[in-house]
Symmetry: C2
Subunit: 149 residues, 2 copies
DNA sequence: ATTGTAAATGATAATCATTCTCATTAAGGA
DNA sequence: TCCTTAATGAGAATGATTATCATTTACAAT
């Protein structure tokens, strides 16, 4: 079992339960963003059926602890959660397969500092999400397009 | 009446109705981000009571036309809409009074181009929202803090 | 101006993601 | 192993948003 998972839960002062471990594991090892419902059914398929309420509770808890982040994938009408890899909050979110790709650099930080001064604005939070297709899905989309023609 | 409002609706191929005009006017002239419910009650107070469903419909329509953008103000649990001033999608959103402040520069564009190439990722959309307190609210918050001590 | 027609609106019911409740179960320190 | 407290499960409740459909309105053509 991935030792990162227990570590993350312990650091957040959370009890280690089967449910929390399974949910975090799914997000960390899959490298994907998933909605509560997707997680619920993924676990059910694996033979680990937890209550949907527990999934929601766990996701909210892990988000508050800074372990996960959430965002609404455009057009989905629901929230998706993903692992932030130690506070790292900037990634590419594939709307095709759900993959998330960590960005090597964080462009926002320096910019936000400049904003604070230039606009006398007390920045308390920000979101910077990039949606699109990962290399694999991009390739697939290109092939399908060719089929149509 | 603000000529910008009719112009925006016409350009989007939308019929000009009392309801649409009133809703857009509220957002453009107030320079604020508002939720559907806030708009509903603001109009009711003004003596212009439209159906809540119409407010939702209009907001969705204007968002699809690119005239408005929506975002979830953290912790609010609902969507807020704001005028994008001709596709301009980057602004400061005050969580105190709702004011929105247009950014003079758009830091994301150049960065996204670089992302496309470096990660072979087909960017189809992005959100970059900055939350915080505008100069006025920042001042007020500071004063209240002093009172507490 | 009047009319015709498709689109917009209003009122309310329906939907559905998310949260709450509370009885039961499990985690983990003593 | 026991005890205490927190976590979970199942289903009800909530509440923001969407759908329905009868009525009204915008606006192009007459």
């Amino acid at each position: 079992m991935n030792p990162v998972i227990e570590e993350q839960l312990k650091q957040a002062g959370l009890k280690i339960t089967r449910q929390r471990t399974a949910i975090l594991s799914l997000l960390i090892e899959g490298d994907v963003h998933l909605s509560a419902e997707q997680i619920y059914f993924a676990l059910k398929t694996k033979g680990e059926a937890f209550g949907l309420a527990t999934v929601y509770r766990t996701l909210t808890l892990l988000e508050q602890a800074g372990i996960l982040a959430k965002t609404e994938i455009p057009g989905s009408g629901r929230q998706s959660y993903f692992y932030t890899a130690g506070g790292h909050r900037h990634q590419l979110l594939c709307t095709g397969c759900g993959r998330i790709i960590l960005l090597k650099s964080c462009p926002a930080e320096a910019f936000l500092k400049a904003v604070e001064e230039e606009y006398d604005f007390a920045v308390t939070g920000h979101s910077f999400e990039i949606f699109g297709l990962c290399p694999d899905c991009r390739k697939k989309a290109g092939q399908e397009e060719r089929h149509v023609h």
